[in-house]
């Protein structure tokens, strides 16, 4: 290597197409600092903590309600697995997920995803991020990563708090699968994490929709509401037999399909179909968000 030849960051600065001495070295960071900052800002925010606390309340309320009404054998209706809780506390997580998926999880995800860009725009911090400069594509990616991480956190909160509440209030033992076999606690814990992953993936399409909605407005509440309403509409359409031809295309279609993970051997077809469908939603709405945001006049 010739000493006269600039290398590394200096070379990047020297080859910069902008004439004039650059005041700072053209070091290209990975952008991870921004992601770290985004995650820290998101999860330290009171609102996020409140949302996660609300999600944590679902399994707690569920477990307490079943425990208090313990005379009733619980088989007379209610969400799936409710009746199993008294025999095995580990079913609290499963029941809580079933309860949270149609409304509570989409609600919290809608708040976070709808806030991504519109929230920054309404605060005015969007213009400062952009002149920092955070590239628009990078900002979208970081924002989406933050929302996806929230999906995972929200799901894990329901599962983990459910397991704790169940273990505290009910007997815990080996779990009988839907296919009849009995598995130990370790195996069951693995399957619960798989279920959390399934639910997280299920919410990624909705997050992409929220991200796109968020690029359309500088009023975060509007983007949040639009996202939540869409998730409800999709579930209603899914429930209407007359519109059943739409079902495979609805991002909510596989939301409750995680029970397959409680069979032995595990049936992966829902998992794969769901992942593919969510990837499609991410691609379409991610592209729409990119197209919208990269050409948008930032006036707020």
């Amino acid at each position: 290597m010739s000493p006269a030849e600039p290398t590394g960051p200096d070379a990047a600065a020297a080859s910069s197409s902008v004439p004039g001495a650059a005041a700072v070295p053209a070091r290209r960071g990975s952008g991870l600092a921004l992601l770290g900052s985004e995650v820290a800002v998101l999860f330290r925010r009171t609102r996020t903590i409140a949302l996660l606390s609300a999600l944590a309340l679902i399994p707690v309320l569920l477990a307490v309600a079943v425990r208090v009404a313990t005379d009733d054998d619980g088989s007379g209706g209610g969400p799936a697995f409710l009746g199993d809780i008294t025999r095995n506390g580990l079913f609290v997580s499963l029941t809580a997920l079933t309860v949270a998926i149609p409304l509570f999880l989409p609600l919290t995800v809608g708040v976070v995803a709808g806030d991504t860009i519109a929230g920054e725009a309404s605060l005015g911090t969007l213009r400062y991020l952009l002149v920092t400069p955070v590239g628009r594509v990078r900002l979208l990616l970081v924002k989406y990563a933050g929302a996806a991480l929230f999906c995972l956190a929200g799901t894990l909160v329901v599962v983990v708090v459910g397991a704790i509440a169940g273990a505290a209030l009910f007997p815990v033992g080996p779990v009988t699968l839907l296919s009849g076999q009995t598995i130990g606690l370790g195996d069951y814990a693995g399957r619960m994490l798989l279920m959390a992953l399934y639910v997280t993936i299920s919410l990624l399409g909705l997050s992409a929709i929220g991200l796109f909605a968020s690029t359309l407005t500088s009023v975060p509440v509007g983007a949040m509401a639009a996202t939540v309403v869409l998730s409800t509409v999709a579930q209603i359409v899914d429930a209407l037999p007359q519109l059943s031809f739409l079902d495979p295309w609805l991002f909510t279609h596989y939301w409750l399909g995680f029970a397959d993970l409680l069979r032995d051997p595990i049936s992966w077809s829902n998992f794969a179909d769901n992942a593919l469908l969510q990837a499609g939603y991410i691609a379409v709405f991610g592209a729409l968000a990119l197209g919208r945001f990269t050409t948008k006049d930032v006036l707020s």
Binding site: S16, S17, V18, P19, G20, A22, A23, V24, P25, A26, R27, R28, G29, G31, A33, L34, G36, S37, V41, R45, T46, L123, G124, T125, R127, Y128, L129, L130, V131, T132, P133, V134, G135, L139, T295, D297, V298, L299
Partner: protein
């Protein structure tokens, strides 16, 4: 936009636009703007509210796309070369904006972490230095929502100073600041300019611009009416002659004969006069008693001030003081932008 149609890059200019225009729907916010901000200058970007200053600044920074024309900032085309240009630019755009639930320090850390060229290792030190520079060191850990408008403004300026910059774009930097803060901001801008940083500062406050700027551009209704050095702009206006004399009537007669139009009855040029600082250096205090100031616009083509003095003396007017003054910048500003108080549509 090909290089052929773009402005020829001028190394001496920190900001250069050619034919810059922006239309919102049918509303033309900015039209035909040829901005030229020389390197190292403190450029005052003046204009009434709604004249297109902020829209222009948004286009310079790549926040808004231009409908027409080209932009070069620090030699790089905007917004195409934003990645290379913007790290060298510090900006305060349309007021400060922060995450209200974060402390002042955390806000700066957050924005700094977005800059890929800002070294993580020095982040904390740079943030603290910027906070100290704007006098917020003691309030760094307060949540931003507890900040007063002036404190937010300071925090916004601190954000622009997180890294060494070649260009600072400050939109109404002294908005909401108390007189003390305004002075500090002026001193800060001057010290930055002394270090070689080019500063583009927009304002609707003439006095402020006059005190700290070397160059000036005046916008009105989306157009740049004039730009140049402060002295250029002052020289553009009509000059006034002021004669301090105990013989006002005689002096008025002379001025009238020269084709000038003297002002009314003249004001006594006593030290107590509110115009005292403007008055020509008074002769001996004893001699000034009874002296009166006679003023007239030097509005006759080719009439030199010395001719006026010679004529006055020849007519035995006792001239105790004589001054040629440029029109005040405020007069020029109002000449250019009109008197109306209405915000430009």
């Amino acid at each position: 936009m090909s290089d052929g149609t773009g402005p020829r890059p001028d190394a001496g200019l920190a900001v250069q636009t050619e034919g810059l225009g922006k239309t919102f729907g049918r509303q033309r916010a900015v039209a035909d703007l040829d901005l030229a901000v020389p390197q190292g200058s403190v450029y005052g970007f003046l204009g009434p509210n709604g004249s297109g200053k902020t829209t222009t600044i948004r286009m310079l920074l790549g926040l808004t796309s231009a409908t027409s024309g080209t932009i070069r900032v620090l030699g790089g085309a905007m917004p195409e070369q934003a990645r290379d240009v913007l790290p060298r630019v510090g900006a305060l755009v349309e007021g400060p904006a922060f995450y209200p639930f974060l402390s002042g320090r955390a806000n700066l850390v957050r924005l700094d972490s977005g800059d890929r060229r800002a070294p993580t290792s020095t982040r904390r030190a740079r943030v603290d230095a910027a906070l100290d520079r704007v006098g917020l060191g003691h309030a760094a850990d307060k949540k931003a929502h507890a900040y007063s408008l002036g404190m937010k403004q300071r925090l916004g300026i601190a954000n622009a100073l997180l890294m060494p910059r070649d260009l600072l774009v400050l939109d109404e930097p002294s908005n909401g600041l108390d007189p003390q803060g305004t002075r500090e901001v002026r001193a800060l801008i001057r010290s930055l300019a002394d270090d070689g940083t080019t500063v583009l500062v927009s304002s609707h406050l003439l006095a402020e611009v006059e005190q700290m700027c070397s160059h000036i551009g005046v916008m009105s209704a989306g157009r740049l009416l004039t730009q140049g050095t402060l002295d250029d702009l002052r020289a553009l206006g009509t000059h006034r002659v002021r004669v301090l004399t105990p013989d006002p009537d005689l002096a008025r007669g002379v001025l009238t004969r020269l084709g000038l139009v003297p002002d009314g009855s003249g004001s006594p040029a006593l030290p107590a006069s509110p115009d005292a600082p403007d008055a020509p250096a008074a002769p001996a205090a004893t001699g000034s008693a009874g002296a009166v100031r006679v003023e007239a616009d030097l509005g006759v083509e080719g009439l030199a001030p010395e001719t006026v003095v010679a004529a006055l003396v020849a007519a035995d007017v006792r001239v105790r003081g004589f001054e040629v003054a440029g029109a005040s910048l405020e007069d020029r500003f109002v000449d250019l932008t009109g008197e109306g108080f209405d915000v430009a549509g």
